[in-house]
């Protein structure tokens, strides 16, 4: 589905429609960097959101994330932000309600079931109260069933995910995920550091694809600043993202297969990942915590011989992938374990806010690289594979094909890699060259200012998303004109995707739950932040 770059047009008409339908409900409207923010009265929230979802013109069928912001110096105490996205119309809108201490606002879970966890998180992190409070706590089924903890320390929960299962024999009657064992308060930490200083924290989000996280965060900052990086930097960023995607998908494939008993696949994927890690190490100096991007460009240029290294990998990898494919795709046991397991309909997946391969497995071709291209993705030729039934097998096939597409993108990137600078030439944003700093007064001052003062962003708020291996990775930055964000919200795909576990696993067998968790591919570093 190669198509022209469709710049998402800000849906300005939404304001008129809302004014017409709910007079007096729209309290304020703002536009910044092509994003529309509408402040609505808190009592009208549920009606407004229902209308926005069901009106065919607006069709905001997906809630991207919910943010709670706490203010100390305004005539309201909290802002609750709802980032909306419309799959059919491909436009975004930000809704806000303003609350005073003690106010409550209706939960939007009736409109988008996927609001459940984001709302709980917003409440837990920032304080505003949303009614009705979704059920939480020790609400287990009793009787002839057994309640058992799976995780936080369990071989197949992929990190410190804890699932409280209610089992009737082998049948899963209820699943209650408990997250937060890896919470580090990243979003709060961001409020105290400069934009460049936060890059290493993004490494630890989806720690299987740090290169991709670096790019996601820095693009949001660059959107805030309103800058575009040189072509060479863009191409290298694309290559980083795709290397990260292959690496992350390989790990998913290996652990997913291991969970279902196919240990050999695991080691074969690790052999390939080893090559990738060598490539990443050559590029960034580290294997995992890459911290490769900087505001306005990259940390450093490509090392000599790096492109050959990548080219060599691209030469051998497709064959290795075919081998893994041969081990599993037509394997009867593998098919029996994954086909029809953890099935979710496209409708449910959208309502829950699923993105990435988990959504594409249901047949929805939503890929941020296509819908809102960044770093020049609109100029690459690649397919967005989709599944048909939304089961674990489809998700498996989608990810497998995505690796092949990534190879294709990497190949194109290598061919077109232009010469030139890797950073914008703006002394307020990028550090000057070291030799110049040591010899010239002006550069010395510029360097001093960036290092000590950081980069000041304009007043405003932006949300920027990339297609991370796990799905839509978005960063919302609220800037008050300081060197640090006033509020940073990370829309991590794993966190939202994990909500689907109940829909997928209940009614299945315990063994199916393992397949479901594996096929959802959550990374706890990203879920808990």
């Amino acid at each position: 589905m190669e198509g022209p770059y469709i710049a998402p047009d800000p849906p300005r008409f939404v304001v008129d429609r809302l004014n017409g339908r709910f007079p007096g409900s729209v309290l304020d409207v703002a536009e910044f960097r092509g994003e529309i923010t509408v402040v609505v009265a808190k009592d009208a929230l549920l009606d407004v959101t229902l209308f926005l979802r069901d009106d065919p013109e607006t069709a905001f069928d997906m809630l991207t994330v919910v943010t709670g912001t706490h203010y100390l110096d305004r005539d309201y105490d909290y802002e609750v932000l709802y980032h909306l996205y419309s799959l059919p119309k491909n436009h975004r809108l930000r809704l806000k309600v303003r609350l005073r201490e003690g106010d409550t606002v209706s939960s939007v879970t009736p409109v988008w079931p996927g609001a459940n966890w984001p709302e709980r998180e917003a409440r837990a992190s920032s304080g505003p109260s949303m009614r009705p409070v979704p059920a939480e706590g020790e609400d287990y089924l009793h009787g002839e069933t057994m309640v058992v903890n799976m995780g936080p320390s369990h071989p197949s929960t992929h990190g410190v995910l804890r699932l409280v299962l209610t089992l009737d024999g082998e049948v899963v009657k209820a699943v209650q995920p408990h997250v937060g064992y890896l919470h580090r308060g990243m979003e709060k930490i961001a409020e105290g550091m400069t934009y460049n200083q936060f890059v290493p924290y993004t490494d630890r989000l989806d720690y299987l694809a740090p290169l991709s996280n670096n790019v996601g965060f820095i693009l949001a900052v660059e959107k805030l600043l309103g800058i575009t990086v040189p072509a060479r930097a863009q191409v290298i960023r694309v290559m980083g993202c795709e290397i990260a995607r292959i690496s992350a998908h390989l790990l998913w494939l290996g652990t997913g297969a291991l969970d279902l008993g196919a240990a050999t696949v695991f080691f074969h994927t690790f052999r390939e990942r080893e090559t990738l890690y060598n490539i990443i190490e050559a590029l960034t100096g580290t294997r995992m915590t890459t911290s490769y991007t900087r505001v306005g460009g990259l940390a450093r240029d490509l090392p000599p011989g790096w492109t050959e290294q990548v080219r060599a990998f691209l030469g051998t990898f497709p064959a290795a992938l075919d081998e893994l494919d041969a081990l599993l795709t037509r394997n009867t046991i593998w098919m029996k374990r994954t086909q029809g397991i953890g099935r979710i309909s496209a409708r449910d997946a959208i309502a829950l806010g699923l993105t990435g391969p988990n959504l594409r497995g249901t047949g929805v071709a939503y890929d941020v690289r296509r819908t809102e291209p960044y770093s020049g993705y609109e100029t690459y030729e690649f397919d967005v594979p989709v599944g048909a039934t939304g089961d674990a097998y489809d998700r498996y096939l989608v990810r497998l094909e995505e690796m092949r597409q990534s190879v294709k993108i990497l190949d194109q990137a290598l061919r077109r890699l232009p010469d030139g600078p890797i950073s914008v030439d703006d002394p307020k944003i990028t550090l000057p060259k070291k030799e110049r700093v040591l010899t010239s007064m002006e550069e010395l001052i510029e360097q001093f200012m960036i290092v000590t003062e950081g980069i000041k962003g304009p007043v405003g708020e932006v949300y920027h998303a990339i297609e991370a291996p796990k799905g839509e990775l978005g960063f919302y930055i609220k800037s008050e004109g300081d060197k640090s964000p006033y509020r940073l919200q990370i829309r991590s795909p794993s966190f939202i995707n994990l909500q689907a576990i109940e829909t997928m696993a209940v009614g299945g067998l315990l063994s199916d739950l393992i397949a479901v968790v594996a096929s959802l591919d959550p990374v706890m570093g990203e879920v808990d932040r």
Binding site: D259, T264, H268
Partner: protein
């Protein structure tokens, strides 16, 4: 003392001592083979540091297990918890006793059978001891007072008994052909009429599948299924008690392989060996080696399959046992009766 009894006692004592030595060595080295072969399959090295080629690794493991901390959690039901590893380990060591590893030969002026006990109901003795294995697992899981253990134990016991049926029925074909339950007769019949493998392929396949399931090996390793039930019925075990479950698993693999060889692959029979006109001891040696090689092949198969296939889901496993293997085993009996009536085997 009755000289006959004395002779039996001394002879068996020597054989048993020898057999334990061999079996435990094979079991120990199977763990190394498993790790080296899996490493080879997975494109890595495997243990190669302890001794040349890692050959002393099993010894190091054994010593490690002896010195491991033995945890006896307070929530377990102690008498049964301590008994369970014994209940699984002892039958695993005894089952082999009726399998002949070579022909009878003249030694020290005595006719010595290369087998610990040559009994009339050999096949059934094996089934009887195999049927005891389920208690070790069930009791280990029950006495651990742990949900994972209990689930693993129930899964495992149900799996074991289900595949025991399939195995028991698949063997009937062999018994019909040989007209005897004595393993030596079965081997003799194959020497005279060709290996059972040829005529009774369905039975062999059922037997092999059941043998994989009976030994809890992939793709039937659901009792442990470490990615689901952590460690299943032996979650609460540690140290030597834990390793006993594993030694039993490997001992059972050896026995199952030897049984497959004896029932279907002619036992120690080497086709065409009599043409060489070797002296009796040499011929016996060749046959024992052939037996070992055949068993080795099946052991390798175990390892190979384990590191190639994913795992079945529990209901799929039970369906395979009850809805496929069981009816097919009955049909197989019909097929063999036809063979026997036609005098083809």
């Amino acid at each position: 003392m009755d000289p006959d009894i004395a002779r039996v006692l001394v002879e068996s004592a020597v054989k048993i001592a020898l057999f334990f030595f061999i079996l435990l060595t094979v079991v120990a080295y199977m763990t190394l083979v498993e790790r080296r072969v899996s490493a080879w399959i997975q494109d890595r090295q495997g243990p190669n540091r302890v001794g040349p080629l890692g050959l002393l690794q099993p010894l190091a493991d054994g010593i490690k297990f002896l010195f491991k901390e033995e945890v006896t959690p307070p929530h377990v039901y102690r008498p049964v918890y301590l008994l369970a590893p014994m209940l699984i380990f002892v039958p695993a060591l005894v089952t082999f006793s009726v399998i002949p590893i070579g022909p009878a030969l003249e030694l020290f002026g005595q006719r010595v059978r290369l087998q610990i006990a040559d009994v009339d109901n050999g096949v059934l003795v094996i089934l009887a001891f195999a049927s005891m294995g389920v208690y070790g697992i069930a009791l280990a899981g029950w006495s651990s007072s742990n949900k994972y253990s209990l689930m693993g134990a129930l899964r495992s016991s149900a799996q074991l008994i289900s595949y025991e049926l399939a195995m028991g029925l698949s063997i009937v074909g062999v018994l019909m052909a040989a007209g005897s339950l004595r393993l030596n007769d079965i081997v003799q019949h194959q020497i005279e009429h060709g290996w059972n493998l040829i005529w009774q392929l369905p039975g062999f396949l059922i037997f092999l599948t059941a043998a994989f399931a009976e030994t809890n090996r992939l793709p039937f390793d659901l009792p442990e299924a470490e990615t689901e039930l952590v460690a299943g019925y032996h979650t609460e075990y540690s140290g030597m008690r834990f390793s006993m479950f594993y030694m039993a698993e490997y001992a059972n693999m050896v026995t199952a392989s030897a049984l497959a060889v004896t029932l279907y692959c002619g036992g120690y029979h080497v086709p065409g060996l009599h043409l060489l006109r070797l002296p009796e001891p040499a011929a016996a040696l060749v046959q024992v080696l052939a037996f070992g090689l055949k068993v080795g092949f099946f052991l390798f198969l175990y390892v190979w399959v384990r590191w190639t296939l994913p795992r079945f889901r529990y209901d799929q496993l039970m369906n395979l046992g009850w809805k496929v293997l069981l009816p097919v085993a009955v049909l197989h009996i019909l097929w063999v009766s036809f063979l026997v009536l036609m005098n083809w085997t």
